[in-house]
């Protein structure tokens, strides 16, 4: 039997979920023996191939992120929403009380140390912000939800072990965290 392939992406997120994955520490060596890690922020494989497991951390905040979410959904059998941002929008959804244009104005014009006499707002060759930062399942179907900011390393490992055993994981209540 060939090893199940895994791809992970990180969208509107802080990288904490991927760091928590690395926090499985020395057990990562064993895990990487059992699964084939394909496209992922810690590898140089940039094209998402057909995989068994797709993992998304982060919310959807711009058009490029929506494109990536759809891409990984099409290419994987099981899609995991990993962390509060992917599951619920997380900290990013704090910007949903204002228009994206207002947030950009504050960031690039009002901030105290910004020197921007021409009032340049970035946008050239850059993804466009969505009106709101939204959870993954607003756009694509999600099979497994793992909340937490970030989820514990043990929880992440548990989910992979369940998948390796051929089960669709349900995160036990004592492994759930929402901070």
């Amino acid at each position: 039997m060939s090893k199940p392939k895994v791809a992970t992406v990180w969208l509107e997120a802080c990288a904490g979920c991927h760091m928590s994955f690395l926090d499985i520490d020395e057990r990562i060596v064993d895990l990487l023996d059992k699964v084939e890690l394909t496209s992922c922020p810690i590898t140089d494989i940039k094209e998402i191939p057909k995989v068994t497991v797709g993992v998304i951390s982060g919310a959807l905040g711009n058009d490029e992120e929506v494109h990536i979410a759809r891409d990984i959904r099409e290419k994987c059998d099981i899609l995991i929403a990993w962390g509060d941002c992917a599951v619920m929008g997380g900290i990013n959804s704090m910007r949903n009380f204002m228009k994206p244009e207002e947030a950009l104005e504050v960031g690039y014009k009002d901030t105290l140390s910004t020197v921007n006499p021409d009032g340049v707002i970035p946008g050239e060759d850059l993804p466009k912000l969505l009106p709101m930062a939204i959870p993954i399942d607003d756009e694509v179907k999600v099979d497994v939800y793992i909340p937490g900011c970030p989820p514990d390393a043990d929880t992440i490992l548990y989910v992979f072990q369940e998948i390796l055993e051929g089960r669709i994981p349900t995160v036990p209540v004592d492994m759930m965290r929402y901070d």
């Binding site: 690395l22 060596v29 494989i45 490029e64 504050v106 960031g107 690039y108």
Partner: protein, 476 residues
């Protein structure tokens, strides 16, 4: 009339913390005309924190970055102390610094072992299928194990103090919420020698690598720039000091208290990146650009305050010219020296009797209208600045994040490498990876830098002047 030029796009840049892409513009003869390193995400922390109670900031702002959340947690707490108008107790100060040393160790270990070592061990031209941490674990199991355990050591210390490894909660405005128990302290003291030995061996490894790759390592994206970092009495400082700027020839340009940053540092905006470009105001942009982070700090300071790191710094400086080391690749070496310093400093703090003290918090008599907190995050100088109303509701937030300071240098470095390795539409994978490695040298935390930080296939697209794609190479 726009100039006719072809473009090459590297998207996404992997093995860095965040979202970026590189565009290379070619001129008609196929030579590199210009490159741009774009940061492609914006989240808007400076905007959406307005209206929050300032006491929430040490919990909200770490979510800017999961790689060095402790830096934001601490910079934020320092800004909040200033709003409370208090000086925290020696115990609280030392516990915060202790957590920060754990952070430096874990973050630098991640940067070197997990993200950069694949390039150094396998070479820039190796197959992407092995050129990652999994490949390192398979082919260099001892090194990988040491890297993993070093990061774990730092993370465990953070968890001990703050309850979890990522987004811990330990500092509060006016102090900290828990001390370290004697038995916990002893456990970390016991673990220190093994980590020190590991880092010293790794330093020898990087020295050998740099020696073996002499000219290429020295040439690689090297810039004779200014350098900025915190110092205390001239010594490199990671937690609490004055901001020093040193010029490319070694002369100290300026040194000022961290709370005066706004008089000296401005941020420039370009339309093609969500990441701003900080600069030293007196010199303007881009002449006033400088570098921060490990290389910035070791060049800005006179010395390390701990004995073994100080000894190592002397060896390091022998490799440069007139005591200045401008070689970008040597950032890896500087980073490892800082781990040695952080471990030594950790030991000093753990042996300090204040560290197990119980005097953790001071209360405030009234709020000040603003507070500034500055710290050296692993990737460079991090500035949090809040203004509040009379009840402590946040009116304005200004964040200058470590990676931002290096924005100009990263762009210049990518351009230098591109000019050397790309001619016409024939682009080899190694060339693209070298450009990425420039970025990786700076270990940018792009999630931080845009407070804000897509993955698309690596697409090299060659576009003619009319915007027609004449060739596309996809990499899987």
């Amino acid at each position: 009339m726009p100039k006719e030029r072809k473009t090459i796009v590297v998207n996404p840049i992997t093995r860095i913390e965040g979202h970026g892409k590189i565009t290379v513009y070619l001129d008609d003869s196929g030579n590199v005309d210009e490159t741009r390193f774009h940061v492609t995400q914006f989240r808007g922390f400076e905007a959406f924190c307005k209206g929050r109670d300032f006491r929430e900031m040490p919990v909200i702002t770490p979510r800017i970055c999961g790689i060095c959340p402790v830096s934001h947690h601490l910079a934020s707490a320092k800004a909040c102390d200033a709003i409370l108008g208090v000086t925290i107790t020696p115990t609280a100060h030392k516990l915060r610094e202790l957590m920060h040393m754990g952070q430096i160790v874990q973050s630098h270990a991640l940067s070197f072992f997990h993200l950069s070592s694949p390039d150094l061990l396998f070479g820039f031209d190796a197959d992407p299928a092995v050129r990652h941490v999994g490949g390192v674990a398979r082919d260099f199991p001892e090194l990988a194990k040491r890297g993993i355990l070093m990061r774990k050591f730092g993370q465990e210390l953070i968890k001990t103090l703050g309850g979890k490894k990522i987004h811990p909660w330990h500092s509060i405005p006016g102090g900290v919420n828990r001390s370290i128990k004697v038995e916990e302290r002893d456990l970390f003291l016991k673990g220190l020698p093994e980590q020190k030995e590991a880092i010293k061996d790794t330093i020898e490894l990087i020295r050998k690598y740099l020696e073996d790759n002499g000219e290429e390592a020295k040439k690689f994206a090297t810039l004779k720039s200014s350098y900025l970092g915190l110092v205390k009495g001239g010594k490199l400082e990671l937690f609490d000091g004055d901001i020093r700027l040193r010029g490319p020839r070694g002369r100290i340009t300026d040194e000022f208290p961290d709370v005066e940053y706004l008089e000296h540092i401005g941020e420039h905006v370009e339309p093609w990146s969500y990441l701003k470009f900080p600069f030293y105001r007196s010199l303007g942009f881009p002449q006033g650009s400088y570098r921060v982070g490990p290389l910035g700090r070791v060049n800005a300071c006179d010395d390390f305050a701990t004995p073994e790191a100080s000894k190592e710094l002397k060896r390091f400086r022998e490799l440069g010219e007139d005591g200045m080391v401008h070689y970008t690749m040597y950032t890896h070496y500087a980073r490892l020296m800082e781990v040695l310093y952080a471990l030594e400093r950790m030991e000093e703090l753990l042996l300090d009797e204040d560290i197990t003290g119980s005097d953790l918090r001071v209360s405030s008599k009234g709020l000040q209208p603003e507070g500034i907190g500055v710290i050296e995050a692993p990737r460079g100088t991090l500035i949090h600045h809040y203004q509040v109303d009379e009840v402590g509701s946040v009116k304005a937030v200004n964040l200058i994040v470590a990676t931002g300071h290096n924005n100009y240098a990263m762009n210049k470095g990518v351009e230098m490498v591109a000019k050397e390795f790309i001619h016409g539409a024939d682009v080899k994978e190694g060339a693209l990876n070298r450009m990425e490695h420039v970025i990786r040298c700076y270990d940018p935390c792009l999630s931080c830098s845009t407070h804000a930080v897509g993955k698309m296939p690596l697409k090299v697209s060659i576009v003619d002047g009319d915007g027609r794609e004449i060739r596309e190479i996809l990499k899987g």
